[in-house]
């Protein structure tokens, strides 16, 4: 396997089709134990399908590859040692919070989950909602309940599909802290996200899938290295300053105060700087690697010049 014996998940040349649509195409991926692995990709690119295959909710096309989770090839439901937070929250509205959690824990084979439920509700500041029906909870609260249901039974692998979406900053911090602590305890965490800043900060490895194909896989460093230092972050003061008209600038991400310029291949940053100085007062000039956000956008919304086929970018990481 790719990373030796310590892989929690090993996906080997797996393909999954729905009718004519190829959702995941010949995917190979290995998730090392104890890591936080971030799944990114545009909507409908195959993230959730891949996660569901790891959970054994979906099965790969017959004969099209194999998935090994925690060393098991089992073809039935995921092992009780895997916790799962689906993209859309799935809780029985009419059940009490503690009842739902107990039910989900029992489904994972846990016989006496009550002490754990109390601990987790307490930790997520939900103790007073223990006997309330799920339908009375706010969106953020039910998301925390769903998170508890995924991690309650202390699984070895936790799969979180969009765990932070729709959370306010306070709750997002609570959840992020919980995820990091899971990792500290040796739990492997796979999560998908649309928030590139979160992926950059939290993930040991990043995997990007686009139109069913793997286009990125590796540490943030290794991914950024492949793109080189082709990005310049600038702040220029001046009337009618427009970076898009500067020769050698391929693309501009305007963040308001800051602008991120992507240089065309073989552009000399010094030439660019002098051009900028000619047009206005340069307050900030930083030569840097592209952000994950930028890399994501480059792949998912390719410009004509920098069109990168998945095959070219895909197989690089090892």
């Amino acid at each position: 396997m790719i990373r030796g014996h310590m892989n929690v998940v090993e996906i080997e040349k797996v393909t999954k089709t729905f009718g004519q649509h190829v959702a995941v195409n010949a995917l190979t991926l290995a998730v090392p134990q104890g890591s936080i692995y971030g799944f990114i990709g545009p909507n409908g690119s195959g993230k959730t399908t891949t996660l569901r295959m790891i959970m054994r909710i979906y099965h790969p096309d017959p004969g099209a590859g194999a998935i090994r989770v925690l060393g098991e090839m089992g073809s039935s439901a995921a092992s009780d040692r895997v916790g799962y937070l689906p993209e859309e929250r799935g809780l029985y509205k009419k059940m009490k919070v503690s009842e739902v959690l107990r039910f989900y824990a029992q489904l994972k084979g846990h016989r006496n989950p009550n002490p754990l439920i109390r601990t987790w509700l307490d930790r997520m500041s939900l103790s007073e909602y223990s006997d309330k029906k799920v339908e009375t909870l706010s969106k953020g609260m039910s998301q925390k309940v769903q998170f508890i249901s995924a991690v309650l039974t202390e699984p070895q692998l936790v799969i979180l599909d969009e765990p932070f979406s729709g959370l306010d900053p306070v709750n997002a911090d609570v959840l992020r802290e919980a995820v990091l602590e899971l990792r500290r305890k040796g739990t492997t965490v796979i999560f998908s996200t649309h928030d590139m800043a979160v992926a950059e900060k939290m993930c040991d490895f990043i995997f990007m899938i686009y139109k069913g194909n793997k286009v990125l896989d590796g540490t943030l460093d290794s991914i950024q290295d492949r793109y080189g230092q082709d990005t310049v972050r600038v702040r220029v003061e001046g009337d009618n300053f427009d970076a898009r008209t500067i020769p050698g600038v391929e693309k501009v991400n305007d963040f308001g105060r800051l602008q991120e310029l992507r240089m065309a291949p073989n552009t000399n940053p010094q030439t660019l700087l002098s051009e900028l100085m000619r047009r206005g007062r340069v307050v900030h000039f930083e030569l840097t690697r592209p952000s994950l956000h930028d890399i994501f956008v480059r792949i998912a919304r390719p410009t004509v010049e920098s069109m990168t086929s998945p095959e070219q970018t895909g197989a690089a990481h090892a």
Partner: protein
Amino acid sequence: MHKTIVVAIREYMVSVKTKAFLIGLMMMPLMMGGSFIVGALMEGRVDTKDKRIAVVDYTGRLFESLESAARQRDEVAIFQGEGAARKQILPRFVLERVETGGLDMPRLSLQLSNRIRKGDLMAFVLIGPNVIDAGSGTGPATLDYYSNTPTYNDARNWITSVLNEKVQQLRLEGAAFDPKVVRQLTQRLPVGNLGLVQTDASGNIISAVETNQAANFLVPFAMMFLMFMVIMATTTPLLNSTLEEKTQRIAEVLLASIPPFELMVGKLLGIVGVSLTMATVYLTGAYAALSRAGYAQFFPWQSIWWFLGFLCLAVLMYGSIFIAIGAAVSDMKEAQSMMTPVMLMVVSPMFVLQYVLREPASTLSLVMSLFPPATPMLMIIRQNIPPGIPVWQPVLGAALVILASLVCVFAAGRIFRVGILMQGKGAKISEMLRWALRG
């Protein structure tokens, strides 16, 4: 297996703990007993206002007898109870003799009809001139009752019986017969309706007992109705709960822990538990009610296990179909249209109920009761109508239902597996069939 039980227990608890379950539990006795209760409450609340009836007696010989019968009725028949508790429960019939006054019959009828319209009269009776010596005299031999309250039959029935008796008496006297003797000679004989004579353990002959006609029909009918109600009350909510799990994305969480087939079987087992609970409550209630009324011998002990067995099978069969529909559709509206054919299957025994009650042992009844969707209910009916049916018939029926239930459960399992995670548009019947066949 453990997980299947966990799912079954949740399904059971959630169903039994709801208000809907308790309300449903009370609905059936209310529906069945409602008319009796209302009837009992309404008794004694009859309108006892006098009813005025005009009588035109063209024979001139019958009014007196009507009047004396009315007097007698006023004294005895319209009261209930004794002493202080004596209370009028029926209206008095106040008769008014109307002379023709030279009017012909149509004009007189119109005049009297107008009096009824004004509320002055309740009805009027025209006694034709020739009713006593029917056929031999001249003029019409008809007896007509006119009113604008055609559904109120008490007065008409009373007049009919009084006049017929009197006319008969007059006719017999006219022909020089003694009415008393004639009545004696023409007395009808009642026919006893008995079961079979049997012997007890020591060989003594036990004479047959009078069969209870009402019980013979009521017991099988009540058993079938009970089964029908329990099936409807417990299996249809499965559609809702499956649809909830699908649309609320609960299914995805569940399937991350338990394979789809085990999940479905767990839900089915939970509902089988609910239906057994429901049936037990009703059967216990029915036994208590029968014992109280002194009819404990009519409780169908001999077929109670068959009843519960067939109930479980029917719940598995129909429950799996409803689960499959719940998994395949995307909202309740789509579900409704798919439920119609299933509902038709569930109620199909009702269509042939009358025939099977009358001819439980016929070949046609046997064939119909071997059609799996109808087997549970029809077999129970046939078993409970004396003399019952040979035991191979319910055994064969049960075998066929088990087979049908297995097919339903497996097909539903396949539909469930595909449908439960599909969002957006619901599946067509053709798609469901394809999933069921291909897996």
